[in-house]
């Protein structure tokens, strides 16, 4: 857990979008909009948890998976992760 506090939100957003694009090649050129959610982007439950774990690993953020489930879209997910990173 060596990520410094005060991680920029833009850094978290970049990690999130990069992980999505890596797992879902069809979204390589997708322009993400406010309110986009993993489910609405066509990902099934397996793909959604796969991406979340990739994101958590990339951020070295060890939190229970269930903590991320309150986020209903990508913006909320990024806010949630950003908050948890800066709370450490």
């Amino acid at each position: 857990m060596n990520i410094a506090v005060n991680v920029e939100r833009s850094r978290v957003q970049a990690v999130v979008l990069d992980c999505i694009r890596q797992l879902v090649p069809t979204l390589q050129d997708h322009t993400f909009k406010q309110g986009d959610s993993l489910a609405a982007l066509g990902m099934n439950s397996m793909e959604r948890v796969e991406i979340i774990v990739d994101i958590l690993a990339a951020l070295s953020l060890r939190i229970p998976m269930t903590d991320t489930m309150s986020a209903t879209n990508l913006d909320e997910l990024i806010d949630l992760l950003h908050d948890r990173l800066n709370r450490r």
Partner: protein, 405 residues
């Protein structure tokens, strides 16, 4: 009264020497092989192993919308081969509830799993959730039934190197009993990691230290210089169909299975049993209402095992099959382990349909010269009734008779 034999109405395959039936047919005719030191991630380590690896798979475009990034190589190969067999058998015209699936092979996704573990070895907490699906062989059943809309029964079974043939035998039972109208069999790609390669090598089952300077000569079933099996990636898919169902819908008949047999030695270990092999041959001939003289081609197990090949020839001699022509398909494909039984039935069907027997590579000095070997050049011949044999660790002996429909 005997049931009408199960019919084979479709097939598909990916191997290192061809990624569809047409390409594989050409390679069998030419006697092509591609053995070299294997380079796939998670299979090569400090020690290199000789084998035959698939070129990059060409996934059917119909799967473009499906995210396959968490699927193993075993699953992807199954999809490619199943798509070929599905099209060949025209299964789009059959009700999904009438179609079942058996995946032959257990613990087939080892390299994929090992790569996932290696990726997160310092942080197991972040292991990919898809690992929980991948580590179960039912994963391949799930992927295939989802993408092809199969709604009959589906399961995987394990029978070591006889898995593919054991799956064919179970499928034949399912369609001859009427439990299913169609049963698709996937002989799954056994994806070895460096751990399994080392273990097979330590066991003395996998060659070849003897031919480490000449990888193309390492795979040599039934030759005096053999020193173990040489691995080959591959996946074979067969469509078995209830006799009347196939005839009623005018399916293309590729072969028929008049009889099968399974005999257990009662032995956990890898060593073969002459008694078991004799028994399985006698049983399959009996179940097929044939005698040894009716068999005009044998596709043997022929792995290149020092003891196994010798035992196999003794069993063939003692069951009156010394004069039937035989070759060694593994000398071209390599040993595909769980997929071998399916791939070798496919090779048998190709040879029956096209009227040839493929060469056996590196069979310079057969351990018994008085068999009817096909060695360096292919034979043009008409095969009507063939015998395919598979043997597996754990005392498993299987045999299938195949006839022209």
């Amino acid at each position: 009264m005997r049931n009408s034999p199960a019919l084979i109405t479709g097939m598909g395959a990916v191997t290192a020497i061809g990624q569809d039936i047409t390409a594989i047919s050409q390679s069998l005719k030419k006697g092509t092989s591609v053995f070299s030191f294997m380079t796939r991630e998670g299979r090569c380590s400090d020690d290199l192993f000789i084998g035959a690896e698939l070129p990059a798979l060409t996934m059917p475009t119909q799967f473009d919308a499906y995210n396959l990034s968490t699927c193993s190589l075993s699953a992807k190969a199954a999809l490619v081969a199943l798509q070929q067999a599905w099209t060949d058998a025209r299964l789009d015209t059959v009700e999904p509830e009438k179609i079942g699936l058996i995946v032959g092979g257990s613990n087939v996704q080892q390299r994929h799993l090992n790569n996932l573990r290696d990726k997160r070895k310092n942080a197991p907490y972040f292991i990919q959730p898809s690992y929980a699906l991948n580590f179960m062989d039912s994963d391949i059943c799930g992927i295939c039934t989802e993408l092809f809309g199969i709604r009959g029964s589906a399961f995987s079974l394990g029978g070591a190197s006889a898995s593919g043939q054991l799956a064919v035998i179970e499928a034949a039972k399912a369609v001859t009993s009427g439990a299913l109208d169609v049963c698709v069999v996937v002989g799954a790609l056994m994806d070895l990691s460096y751990w399994e390669c080392h273990a097979f090598s330590s066991l003395g089952a996998m060659g070849s230290s003897r031919f480490s300077d000449a990888p193309t000569q390492a795979c040599r079933p039934f030759d005096q210089q053999r020193d173990g099996f040489i691995y080959g990636e591959g996946c074979g898919v067969l469509v078995l169909e209830r006799h009347q169902h196939a005839l009623q819908r005018g399916a293309h008949l590729r072969g028929a299975i008049p009889g099968c047999a399974v005999v257990m030695d009662g032995n956990r270990n890898p060593d073969p049993s002459l008694a078991g092999e004799i028994a399985v041959i006698q049983q399959v001939l009996h179940n097929s209402a044939m005698t040894a003289s009716d068999i005009d081609y044998i596709n043997p197990h022929g792995s290149g095992s020092v003891l196994g090949d010798d035992t196999e020839l003794q069993a063939l001699a003692k069951t009156g099959l010394r004069s039937a022509p035989l070759n060694a398909t593994k000398s071209l494909f390599g040993h595909a382990l769980s997929a071998a039984g399916c791939l070798e039935i496919i090779a048998t069907l190709i040879q029956m349909e096209q009227g040839f027997l493929h060469p056996s590579l590196n069979l310079d000095n057969p351990i018994q010269a008085d068999f009817n070997w096909v060695t360096t050049t292919r034979h043009e011949t008409n095969i009507k009734q063939a015998l395919s044999l598979s043997y597996g660790f754990g005392g498993l002996n299987t045999a299938v008779c195949i006839i022209k429909p």
